[in-house]
């Protein structure tokens, strides 16, 4: 009886799901085609060499987007480096290392963090973090790589924590009995059983965190200083591809400066696609091994 009901709801929902999947797929494909179409005028050798240079001086004919590509990569990797250890710590605290009362509150706080708009983090960063860095290091304006990395780390922390949390939740029921039979404490269970078999979860959390950091616009725009250069130190200013698009989008729509935005968009699109493909590959290899 139960099964037929299942099958019946399945028969209603399956085509609907297929349809929406097709629409979503088509939309993604359309975005790719759109970006390719607008990037076409950039694809002759002369323009391309201009585009793939380190010089962004649109009024002197330099349209290089490489400083922005480097800025995006440096910033998202450093934010990940800051956020990942903290996230793992929070997750371990919440899953047996810490007392259950504070652990629940901590998780609730992290969930709340997901609902804070990024512009709020950016604003707090401008008023608190930037003056703090300026005072502490007495070098530069405070709008720098480090400020944006800290801001982004706060932004992607909940993504990583919740990803790991759901992975741990998935694994815990499978090992609880074994752990109890062996007389393990919750902390030992976490360290010796849950974490070692959560490899895929860790990888997925890393990849999702990276994607989120790469795609964010508001925090780099507000905190990183936006100078189109490769930063020499953590206290120097940088510009990401997303902030670059936000800054340049209002220029004359005929200029090469404007068209260079589509190249940035294409690079962003392809990088997130690559990241996701990597995730899929990882999942598959994990299934083979498991």
């Amino acid at each position: 009886m139960h099964r037929t009901a299942d099958r019946r709801t399945g028969s209603v929902w399956l085509p609907a799901c297929r349809f929406s999947a097709a629409v979503t797929g088509a939309a993604v494909l359309a975005i790719l085609l759109f970006l390719l179409w607008f990037s076409l005028p950039l694809l002759d050798a002369d323009t391309l060499s201009k585009l793939l240079s380190w010089e962004w001086r649109p009024f002197q004919g330099g349209f290089g987007i490489l400083p922005m590509v480097a800025g995006s990569l440096l910033l998202s990797l450093s934010a990940l480096l800051l956020a990942f250890p903290v996230s793992v710590g929070i997750c371990c605290f919440a899953h047996g290392m810490g007392p259950s009362g504070p652990a629940a509150y901590l998780l609730r706080l992290v969930k709340f963090m997901t609902s804070v708009p990024t512009v709020v983090y950016g604003f707090v960063g401008v008023f608190v973090l930037v003056p703090l860095l300026r005072e502490a290091f007495r070098s530069g304006s405070g709008f720098c790589w480090l400020a944006a990395a800290v801001g982004l780390a706060v932004l992607i922390l909940p993504t990583i924590v919740l990803m790991l949390h759901s992975q741990f939740m998935l694994i815990e029921p499978q090992v609880t009995l074994t752990a109890a039979a062996l007389g393990m404490s919750p902390a030992q269970r976490l360290l010796h059983l849950v974490i070692p078999i959560s490899g895929r979860g860790f990888a997925a959390a890393l990849v999702l965190g990276f994607g989120r950091a790469l795609g964010d616009t508001m925090i780099p725009l507000m905190l990183a200083g936006n100078a189109a250069q490769v930063p020499g130190s953590l206290l120097e200013s940088l510009r990401t591809m997303t902030a670059h698009i936000a800054l340049v989008v209002a220029t004359d729509s005929q200029s090469l400066a404007y068209l260079s935005l589509f190249a940035c968009g294409l690079i962003l699109f392809l990088s997130t696609t690559l990241v996701n493909l990597g995730l899929q590959l990882l999942k598959r290899s994990g299934e083979d091994n498991g």
């Binding site: 009024f59 401008v126 070098s139 304006s141 936006n226 100078a227 189109a228 800054l247 209002a250 004359d252």
Partner: protein, 275 residues
């Protein structure tokens, strides 16, 4: 005593009435008309356009006016392609744009761009040469221009900014700006950044000047709207409304209303000088 208060009452009443009558003059052109006006482009223009639109629409509910931003380039392109009735720009349309689209320009206000520094910076005066050297990265410490010992932090605007364009052309003489300069996306963000950084130098539209930042005099000229109006302070631009061909009907009335005496107060309230 009673007579005095009655007199005062009457004076106030007649004053109020007088003002209302003056306001109604410019709005007469819209009486009994209906239709819609769409406006897009420069963001500096929006406060003036909004005040005018509010006055027109509350006096005449059959007229709809929509106002969008987008920047000077967008304003010119949209009006040229017939997507809006009025395209605002903080710069003159180029000869190519005028001949391609058949644009007619209506300047209605003058706006200056001021160099700004932190409110507590002891520097009171700068010369044009000093400013150019600072932005080019040749002068890097405030003590070289009579300030405290501190590395100068340069702030600039993005390439799509009309404010940047006039400052770069008329004060920096199209000179190089140091590559490490921080770039901020709006006049508001510039003011915020400079007001928080004791070693900052940047530039904002004079309309945005307030106590949070300081505008040092330039080549001995105090920087304010009066100096900009008289031509003493040279870093100025006009704010334009652009139409495709000569405007007709209520669009024409709108352009006349903005450039007429009624909108002087709106333009002053937004911090600009009526043209």
């Amino acid at each position: 005593m009673k007579r005095l208060s009655l007199f005062l009452c009457l004076t106030v009443f007649s004053l109020a009435f007088g003002i209302q009558a003056a306001c109604a003059d410019g709005l007469d052109a819209f009486k009994g008309k209906e239709g819609s006006i769409s406006i897009a482009g420069g963001t500096a223009h929006i406060p003036v356009m909004k005040d005018a639109a509010k006055a027109i629409m509350s006096a005449n509910p059959n007229i709809r006016i929509t106002i969008a931003g987008g920047g000077s380039g967008v304003g010119i392109q949209k009006v040229g392609e017939g997507l809006v009735d009025i395209g605002n720009s903080g710069r003159k349309a180029s000869d190519a744009e005028v001949s391609k689209y058949g644009l007619v320009m209506f300047p209605f206000a003058v706006d200056g761009v001021a160099t700004v520094i932190h409110a507590e910076n002891p520097v009171q005066a700068l010369t044009g040469d000093q400013v150019r050297a600072i932005f080019a990265g040749q002068i890097t410490n405030w003590k070289e221009v009579g300030g405290n010992d501190g590395v100068i932090n340069v702030y600039a605007r993005d390439e799509s900014s009309g404010t940047r364009e006039v400052y770069w052309k008329k004060l920096l003489n199209k000179g190089a700006v140091v590559a490490s300069a921080n770039v901020v996306p709006s006049n508001g963000a510039m003011k915020l950044a400079v007001s928080k950084d004791p070693n900052a130098i940047g530039y904002v539209s004079i309309g945005h000047l307030d106590g949070s930042v300081k505008a040092p005099s330039l080549d001995g000229v105090e920087v304010n709207q009066e100096a900009a109006k008289s031509g003493q302070y040279p870093v100025v631009r006009k704010l334009y409304m652009n139409t495709k061909g000569e405007p007709q009907g209520i669009v024409k009335s709108f352009v006349e209303y903005i450039t007429g005496p009624d909108c002087v107060e709106f333009i002053k309230a937004a911090g600009y000088i009526p043209f």
